[in-house]
């Protein structure tokens, strides 16, 4: 058994920032990640970091834009924490040597981005995430922080009191991908989940193959609710054949969207008469699909993004990476022809419910970054707001886990007296555990009486038995088949446009995936680098997470942010200024709601019509 003060799971932007912060607070930190840190998907972020750095801009404008972008489902204390802290965190990265793009006077460059009232997206070419990731990994190396890379965390070691608010997380169980050894990692002070997004629940996604919602699923099964999972961002400009992302920076620099008839449809068809291409992402994604549905798509599938008029010099200076991506992954030369683009799953606004300090309702369990929901993004995330979330809330989670006092949070977590139960919706199938693969949840018997070591040992034992079972089984279904079916169900029925019937169909298909998973087996008999085994475990996580996305999409009968429902095409503020929370409850998911906090430090954010 390994033992550290703070264990950070995942080594992308949020995980690295949390580890550095916990280390600076004096804790013995270790990072455990299924990928080497520089392989993390933060590296694929292109656009930039929103930060009110310049004179004329200020954090309150950033907070206002973010709240409006969230369609009034962001919690003001989280949104304001982000906007206030982003400038110093961004400059801090600069002091760590991050190669930001520069102005003539030597200051860092900023550009306009969708939904922003001021050009505050701080960037490093069109590869900001790559530089952020490498810069922070360099700092981890500098500090000698221990990294267990290519160790796949399978489960949390958590006590099993009936009320998740009473539970305690004592560490994690992981297996060494290279050797197959399963070990416990005891965390004396806290576990920070920073495992990224669940994009692999969909089949057309900008997300990496490794984005399988592992942290979401582990926290969920340990009793921390998942929040606002129905809010999935579909990025308007992904390449049709692969889902590779074309940065919003292209539109920020002046790129234009055209339909098959050569119309600049964002204006000509009235989708966003003021902001056009730079309207919020959900608005542009719906506009593109409407164009395609109405017969004005190119090859009935996509639209064109044209940046030729920007000129080679400007493109090479600010968007060179985009040229390579379009060439390598779509065979298109962005300097001489428009690029084909369509919406692709990109980001999960929802996630593990946490407060401003990154804490879940389970003691000692934290989450930060895309896997967490503070909630900063509410119903829709603005471009350039993901990277500041990683550094601002990654740092806070790391510090708090290491024992620093950050003040009492205003955001509440877990089931409590301020929530409202879901009573109305008829579910087409019973969600939750189908019974056989009891891999999830909490491990200890006897709850309060269990000591940390005992909880760890029992969780390790459960994990070993589970792996033996998967490996010993001689035949059955393979994970790839189940995963493909799940991804197709989500992309067919829980996409940009959602109908009640479609979402119900998705829930039935997810249930089928769960049942098929009872018969899953791992064909590769080797303990060495068994990716068959790893993907089989990931697939279980994807099923749990996909189900919460579909459940949220079904119960929220309104149109808000990225969540559009055919039967309910209006935002219902009377009823729905509240977060959807789904709690696993030992395999029987329950749904409840917590009111959104619109009261900020100096003002209340009154919901307004969101037009761009």
């Amino acid at each position: 058994m390994y033992e550290h003060d703070v264990i950070v799971v995942g080594a992308g932007g949020a995980g690295l920032r949390a580890a550095i912060a916990a280390h600076e607070a004096g804790a013995d930190v270790a990072m455990v990640s299924k990928l080497h840190p520089v392989r993390s998907h933060t590296g694929a972020a292109e656009g930039g970091i929103n930060a009110a750095l310049q004179e004329g801009d200020d954090w309150e404008l950033h907070a206002y834009d973010t709240m409006k972008g969230s369609d009034y489902l962001g919690d003001a204390p989280a949104v304001e924490t982000l906007a206030k802290n982003s400038p110093e965190e961004t400059i801090n990265l600069e002091h760590w040597g991050m190669p930001f793009s520069r102005e003539e006077d030597g200051t860092v460059s900023q550009r306009p981005f969708g939904g922003l009232s001021y050009p505050r997206t701080t960037y490093a070419g069109a590869e900001t995430g790559h530089h952020l990731l490498h810069t922070m990994y360099e700092q981890v190396v500098k500090r000698g922080i221990q990294v267990y890379d290519e160790w796949y965390v399978m489960n949390l070691a958590t006590t099993d009191e009936a009320d998740p608010n009473d539970r305690e997380c004592h560490g994690v169980v992981a297996y060494d991908v290279q050797s197959g050894n399963i070990e416990g990692f005891k965390a004396n002070q806290g576990v920070v989940l920073a495992t990224g997004g669940p994009g692999q629940a969909f089949d057309h996604t900008t997300n990496a193959v490794s984005c399988t919602g592992d942290g979401h699923a582990m926290a969920y099964r340990a009793g921390a609710p998942l929040e606002d999972m129905e809010f999935i961002q579909f990025h308007p400009t992904s390449l049709p054949s692969t889902g590779v992302l074309i940065s919003e920076g292209v539109r920020g620099e002046g790129g234009i969207l055209y339909n098959s008839e050569g119309e600049r449809f964002m204006f000509e068809h009235g989708y966003a008469n003021n902001s056009g291409e730079l309207a919020s992402r959900d608005v542009v994604a719906r506009a593109e699909l409407t164009e395609v549905d109405e017969g004005r798509g190119v090859e009935d599938e996509y639209v064109h993004l044209d940046m030729r008029h920007l000129g080679e010099e400007r493109i090479m200076d600010r968007l060179e990476n985009i040229l390579h991506l379009a060439e390598d992954f779509e065979g298109v030369d962005g300097l001489v022809e428009p690029m084909p683009v369509k919406p692709g799953q990109h980001y999960a606004m929802g996630g593990i419910e946490v407060d401003e300090n990154g804490q879940t309702c389970v003691n000692g369990l934290y989450a930060a970054g895309e896997c967490a929901c503070v909630s900063v993004h509410g119903g829709n995330r603005l471009g350039g707001n993901a990277l500041p979330e990683l550094i601002v809330f990654g740092k806070r989670a790391g510090r708090h886990a290491a024992g620093e006092d950050l003040g009492d949070p205003e955001i509440r977590t877990g089931y409590g007296d301020d929530v409202e139960d879901e009573t109305e919706t008829d579910l087409p199938v019973t969600p939750g555990d189908a019974g056989v693969d009891t891999s999830g949840g909490v491990a200890a018997d006897g709850g309060v009486t269990a000591d940390a070591e005992g909880v760890l040992e029992r969780t390790v034992e459960t994990a070993r038995q589970r792996v033996d079972r998967l490996m010993d089984k001689e035949d059955g279904v393979q994970h790839a088949e189940i995963r493909a079916k799940l991804q197709k169900a989500m992309t067919d029925y829980v996409n940009v446009f959602r109908t009640e019937e479609g979402v119900k169909k998705a829930l039935r298909l997810i249930r089928e995936c769960r049942q098929e998973y009872q018969d899953v087996y791992v064909d590769d008999p080797s303990r060495t680098f068994n990716t068959d085994l790893q993907q089989t475990i990931e697939t279980r996580n994807l099923i749990d997470v996909a189900e919460t996305i579909a459940l949220g999409a079904l119960v929220r009968d309104e149109f808000r942010g990225a969540h559009w429902r055919k039967e309910h095409q209006e935002r219902k503020d009377e009823e729905w200024l509240k977060h959807t929370l789904i709690s696993w409850d030992d395999g029987e998911p329950s749904i409840f709601y917590r009111p959104v906090i619109l009261e900020g430090e100096n003002k209340t954010y009154e919901p307004k019509e969101r037009s761009y």
Binding site: H36, V38, R39, E94, V209, A480, V522, D523, F529, N530
Partner: protein, 290 residues
């Protein structure tokens, strides 16, 4: 979906590719890498066809795989199919034990550098239609093979860490009222290419010097050092410290400017030029002390 030859046929490796335990085949001939000339024509020709790939297999634990071999797979061609797509298809449809690293699918995570038709390439950004068939896919040469296409990267990471790959100008400053350091756009441009490295290891694998001298820092680590040494935000003293690391016995002077690293770099980093420039900087620094 393929209807033909869904099962892989196993065969012995045609010749002994100098396997020493788990040492992968050495890259002796670095020819044009088996490229096809007319891309568009070839792509059109392949529509509706299958692509024949030969994939290196090895697993120290599994009987039948302890002796390295090649497996043949016939994968249905789709427009835009990359080498990574092909091995993923083979894994998901034919043999789930086929093992390789991959993640982002867009040439930024650096996980999937393979030895494809005799050249180090990133699987995800290599169009299969550009390659001669059968497409031979092997692990990176000169690195220990863990299993199939997975090599041990520890030595590569160790070398990266040797050059103190972190900004050293000051300790983490207090964050209140912090101002950014200034850097000219020209200086940022100077380090731009060097900062693109994705740690894929293709360069190190292609380098004959690194193959013969295990302590040689190698092109990736030297390039990493270049990024810091050329950055005006670090002061002169630190630059001198960096040059001292680089001019040690296994540093820049080992490079014999064969350009193999530059040729295989998937991010087009002029690695050899960077190494040459650091040699000149080291000479300048030493003259100064004279």
């Amino acid at each position: 979906m393929s209807t033909q030859q869904a099962e892989p046929e196993s065969q012995e490796a045609p010749e002994d590719p100098a396997m020493k335990g788990a040492e992968s085949p050495a890259a002796d001939e670095q020819t044009g890498g088996g490229m096809v000339d007319d891309h568009a024509e070839k792509r059109a020709e392949l529509e509706g066809e299958t692509v024949h790939i030969k994939v290196f297999r090895y697993d120290p634990e599994v009987e039948g795989k302890q002796e390295p071999r090649f497996d043949d797979f016939h994968v249905p061609f789709e427009k835009g199919m990359t080498v990574l797509d092909a091995v993923m298809y083979a894994r998901d449809e034919y043999d789930s034990s086929l093992t390789f690293r991959h993640s982002c699918r867009q040439a930024v995570c650096g996980s999937d550098a393979f030895f494809v038709n005799g050249k180090q390439r990133l699987g995800c950004k290599t169009q299969i239609s550009d390659l001669e068939q059968p497409v031979r896919i092997e692990p990176l040469p000169h690195q220990e093979v863990v299993k199939d296409l997975v090599v041990d990267m520890d030595h590569f990471y160790d070398q990266m860490h040797t050059v103190e790959p972190y900004f050293q100008d000051e300790d983490t400053p207090a964050t209140e009222d912090l101002e950014e350091q200034r850097q000219t756009p020209e200086n940022r441009e100077k380090i731009k290419m060097s900062s693109r490295c994705i740690w894929c290891g293709a360069c190190m694998s292609s380098c004959n010097i690194a193959a013969g001298d295990n302590e040689y820092l190698g092109p990736a680590a030297i390039n990493k050092a270049y990024k810091f040494a050329m950055d005006d935000r670090e002061d002169e003293q630190i630059k001198e410290h960096r040059l001292r690391i680089l001019e040690q016995e296994h540093g820049v002077w080992r490079c014999q400017t064969q350009f193999s690293c530059t040729e295989v770099c998937p991010k087009d980093i002029p690695l050899t030029e960077h190494i040459q420039e650091l040699k000149r900087e080291a000479v300048k620094k030493n003259l100064k002390f004279w």
